[in-house]
């Protein structure tokens, strides 16, 4: 399975609402005992929505094409530079210094940067520089994804951004793979050209520089470079004597430096090949496979954390017991702006009832619960206090309790969360909602605005609430504006 396709597919699925419980449960039973990653992979392959799979395929094809084009370009650049630097017409010998520069030093330096780029942000912060290299890489990726949206007119840019936002780490890792792959292609292109040239032509190497570089300096440099292979391949180590002999001054007009023989001038090839192999080809290959393995690891970890995948796995594991009237599966298209609307609204109201109410950031003891029941038109209601002065552990316990209540009574499929509508929602609530969703599965969560009075000032954050809740893209989570509750405190 193409990992990219799976990534895009699961992200897009995450926005979907329709899950056929029976089918998923049947699938779970079929692959009982297999690990979660395998099940999700297989489920996507066998049961995934065709439309989503098609879209995911398109994206992954686009990205694969982008990757292939980049790789080919870099490969050709490698061949080109290799061809130019190894050009030898039998007169002036090939200078080894630019070869070392373009195929050893610069690529090696870029390799180090590409590997350490994640930590650059911190490193630079230490020096109080405000450059953000990581974000430059992120922006690059975002750009690639955005370009793809231009080619696919029917895709909303939101989806493109969503893929990135939801899978930042995965995508960044993919970006690194792309970098390593392209660089590998560059070095490979050059390596092939050099190899062919060496076999088919007798090449003469020398070293030449305008700088007043002594043979001693050159020797030390080559000695350091050849340290990794000096014992296993001594023939690819350049001796001091050879360095002195192959120093070339073009102004003298000689094609072979004084004291060197034509045969001696060819010995550099093994040193150059080993340098490219040891400092570029091999580490690039290692980096490439390292990021590939890492991507798989991150994907497994992150994709399995999606509320959607978690829900799938849960349904696969748990027996599908259904009693009483059934709610119809609801498609996201029927839910506009997270507000209950159309026929489905009535369907839900008729077939579901209230089972638990959560007071988000309210002091339960100070609130007149009876008044809330009256306004919600219910006789019994399990009320819990969440957020605010609760610890996160206490909230987790409340989620468990709420989940038990729902599991214990299948006809009551709805949880309401009463919120201070005049306050704006924050990420703390979003985390809570996500946890709650992960625990209760596909049950309706209704956010009911609590107002202090019927004054419009109470609703000034209405847009913020809708925007924030929409961000979650959970179709089973709604803000029910039709059912506001007026706040009444207990009389002391």
């Amino acid at each position: 399975m193409n990992t990219l396709e799976l990534l895009v597919g699961l992200t897009l699925s995450n926005e979907r609402t329709e899950i056929h419980r029976e089918a998923v449960r049947h699938f779970g039973k079929k692959y009982h005992g297999k690990d979660a990653w395998f099940k999700i992979n297989q489920w996507y392959h066998e049961q995934g929505d065709k439309d989503i799979k098609d879209r995911a395929k398109k994206y992954s094809r686009y990205l694969a094409t982008f990757s292939t084009v980049a790789t080919i370009i870099f490969f050709l650049v490698g061949i080109g530079i290799g061809g130019v630097l190894f050009k030898y017409d039998g007169t002036n010998p090939i200078n080894v210094l630019p070869i070392l520069l373009f195929f050893v030093f610069i690529p090696f330096l870029l390799l180090i940067i590409s590997i350490t780029v994640v930590n650059w942000n911190r490193l630079i912060n230490l020096f109080k520089l405000r450059l953000n290299i990581t974000s430059i890489a992120e922006e690059g990726w975002r750009g690639i994804l955005r370009i793809s949206s231009y080619f696919k007119k029917n895709e909303h840019p939101y989806h493109i951004n969503n893929i990135y936002e939801q899978n930042k780490r995965i995508v960044n890792n993919y970006f690194k793979i792309l970098i390593q792959k392209s660089s590998l292609a560059y070095i490979l292109g050059a390596f092939i050209v050099i190899f062919i040239k060496i076999i088919t032509t007798d090449l003469a190497f020398s070293w030449s520089s305008t700088l007043n570089m002594s043979s001693n300096h050159m020797y030390h440099m080559t000695e350091v470079i050849s340290t990794p292979w000096q014992d296993i391949m001594p023939t690819a180590v350049i001796e001091y004597e050879m360095i002195e002999k192959t120093r070339h001054y073009r102004a003298t007009g000689e094609t072979i430096p004084e004291g060197a023989t034509a045969q001696e001038m060819g010995v550099w090839w093994s040193f150059l090949m080993m340098s490219i192999l040891v400092y570029n080809l091999a580490p690039r290959l290692l980096a490439y496979y390292y990021y590939k393995i890492r991507l798989r690891h991150i994907m497994k970890r992150d994709l399995l954390r999606y509320p959607y995948t978690q829900q799938l796995l849960e349904i696969m594991e748990k027996p599908n017991v259904q009693e009483g009237p059934q709610t119809h599966p609801i498609n996201s298209k029927d839910w506009n702006n997270n507000e209950v609307g159309g026929e489905h609204r009535h369907a839900i109201q008729k077939t579901s009832d209230l089972s638990a109410a959560l007071l988000w950031r309210f002091d339960k003891d100070g609130i007149d619960i009876e008044s809330i029941k009256k306004q919600l038109n219910v006789s019994t209601l399990n009320v819990f206090q969440a957020g605010g002065s609760n610890t996160i552990k206490q909230d987790d316990e409340i989620i468990d309790k709420v989940s038990d209540i729902i599991d214990g009574n299948n006809t009551r499929q709805e949880i309401v969360i009463l919120v201070r509508y005049w306050e704006s929602p924050d990420i703390d609530l979003i985390f809570f909602l996500r946890k709650l969703r992960g625990r209760i599965g596909k049950k309706l969560i209704k956010i009911i605005p609590v107002l202090r009075s019927n004054n419009d000032a109470n609703k000034k954050n209405e847009k913020s609430w809708h925007a924030r809740i929409n961000e979650i893209r959970d179709p089973w989570l709604i803000i029910d504006n039709s059912q506001t509750v007026l706040l009444h405190y207990k009389r002391v």
Binding site: I392, D426, I427, K463
Partner: protein
């Protein structure tokens, strides 16, 4: 603590933090929105004098994940209060720098751990206080051990002010009610003054800043007076003419001349208006203020009454009444025992005080030279109209908060203005308007009169 005052404005989302910064720093470019989450990064806004930062105010995003932060810090052994806690906050900022879950908290805490300073906690005091909603944030602020001030922003009224005061007084050294949208220049200075009392090391510098801000406002008024006087001089010195058309009557030509004058003056006014708006430091606030001179609108309503003070009018009336009374007395050879004179004076004064005079025109004379109709002289009323438009604009700009993004609309009313003060100098301007240059006396005198009026209009504390 550094002697450079640093204020870090914090609080829940959408409670007016950016508005407060915008008002204090007087920058109408700071983004403000009715939706929460407009501010996503902490930004430093300094007040600089000659390139030197006198004080800095940090605008920060709202608290988002404060409960988790508090639990994390408690796990690290953070105490309720104490300066050593800053080290733990620093550690948190370093370790969680790239954690998106704590993005806002990192943004808020970074300037705090970098510069210390004073924390300004902004809340909307028109909504009720609740421990569940706000206590975690307040406790985090307390943990920093830094001086802190609470700003109660009564966005939609002051119903809950006392409740807020009761709950916050144990946590904050100072609690101030401040509405950034409606604040005036003086209130802004008073808030800075309140800040200065919290940290003795900053007192001198903040007072110095207040002094600079006051002086800067005075300078702005003086420069505005200069601009206004230049506008008036330019208007009176400009030539207004239209080509003669034999098919048109003289009345038609006067109408055309009036339109020409109106358009030209409007252009001059608008150009100078923008200079004044810039002087007051506004860059984005829309100003729907223009010089208004409509033939059947302003002009017809403009009367001598509008630029003479009621007392002056009463005096003129009394003189007219007294003259009539004296005439009657003389006719009766003193038979009226001076009663007609006394009565005439009283009636004249009363009528003068109340009665409106006939409308006047702003064009004093029109002549035809060759194939052109041109304005010979303008009446002083035009100058009064221009000056009053500017005065109204400046009064609005002077007391407008940079956080108040409503457009400025001028609805000026002649009756409220003291136009009579300018009569004398305007007559001198008219006298010199046809010469090549104005005398230094006219230039400086006009500037002085306008400046005095502006200072009087906008009295500072």
């Amino acid at each position: 603590m550094d002697d450079k005052p640093v204020f870090v404005v914090t609080g829940p989302p959408n409670k007016g933090k950016s508005s407060l910064v915008s008002a204090l720093i007087h920058d109408d470019r700071i983004e403000i929105d009715e939706r929460a989450g407009t501010t996503t990064k902490s930004v430093e806004y300094p007040i600089k004098v000659d390139g030197e930062t006198m004080l800095a105010i940090w605008d920060t995003p709202g608290f988002e994940n404060v409960r988790q932060l508090k639990e994390l810090l408690s796990d690290w052994g953070m105490k309720e209060s104490g300066k050593d806690n800053l080290e733990l906050f620093r550690r948190f900022c370093n370790e969680y720098r790239d954690d998106r879950d704590f993005h806002n908290e990192i943004e808020i805490l970074t300037p705090i751990v970098m510069f210390g300073g004073m924390i300004v906690y902004v809340i909307d005091s028109s909504v009720p206080y609740s421990d569940s909603q706000y206590l975690n944030e307040i406790e985090i602020i307390k943990m920093t051990g830094l001086p802190r001030i609470a700003i109660l922003n009564p966005i939609d009224g002051s119903d809950e002010l006392e409740e807020w005061r009761t709950h916050l007084k144990e946590h904050f050294s100072l609690i101030k009610v401040f509405n950034p949208y409606k604040t005036t220049f003086d209130e802004r200075l008073r808030l800075f003054d309140a800040f200065s009392h919290l940290e003795s090391i900053w007192e001198g510098r903040i007072h110095k800043t207040i002094g600079y801000l006051k002086r800067n406002r005075e300078n702005v008024l003086h420069d505005s007076a200069n601009i206004i006087s230049l506008t008036v001089l330019e208007v009176y010195h400009s030539k207004y003419q239209v080509p003669c058309d034999n098919l048109k009557t003289e009345a038609d030509h006067i109408k055309l001349l009036f339109n020409e004058l109106d358009e030209k003056v409007k252009r001059i006014f608008d150009k100078r208006k923008n200079e004044i708006i810039k002087l007051f430091g506004y860059r984005k606030i829309p100003v729907n203020a223009s010089y208004e001179l409509k033939e059947n609108n302003v002009l017809q309503k403009t009367s001598i009454k509008k630029y003479l003070s009621p007392n002056q009018k009463a005096l003129i009336g009394a003189a007219v009444g007294a003259s009539a009374g004296v005439t009657i007395d003389l006719t009766l050879l003193g038979g009226g025992l001076g009663a007609p004179t006394v009565l005439g004076t009283l009636i004249g004064a009363g009528v003068g005080y109340l009665k409106d005079f006939d409308p006047v025109n702003i064009i004093k004379g029109v002549s035809k030279t060759g194939r052109m109709y041109k304005v010979d002289k303008l009446k002083p009323e035009l100058g009064f109209i221009i000056i009053n438009c500017f005065r109204e604009l400046i009064s609005l700009l002077y007391n407008k908060s940079a956080a108040d993004r409503e457009p400025i609309i001028i609805n000026y009313d002649y009756d409220k203005k003291t136009t009579y003060k300018f009569v004398q100098i305007m007559n001198k301007v008219i006298k010199e308007s046809n010469s090549d240059i104005y005398s230094d006396y006219v230039k400086t005198e006009l500037r002085r009169v306008v400046r005095e009026q502006l200072v009087q209009d906008n009295k500072m504390i």
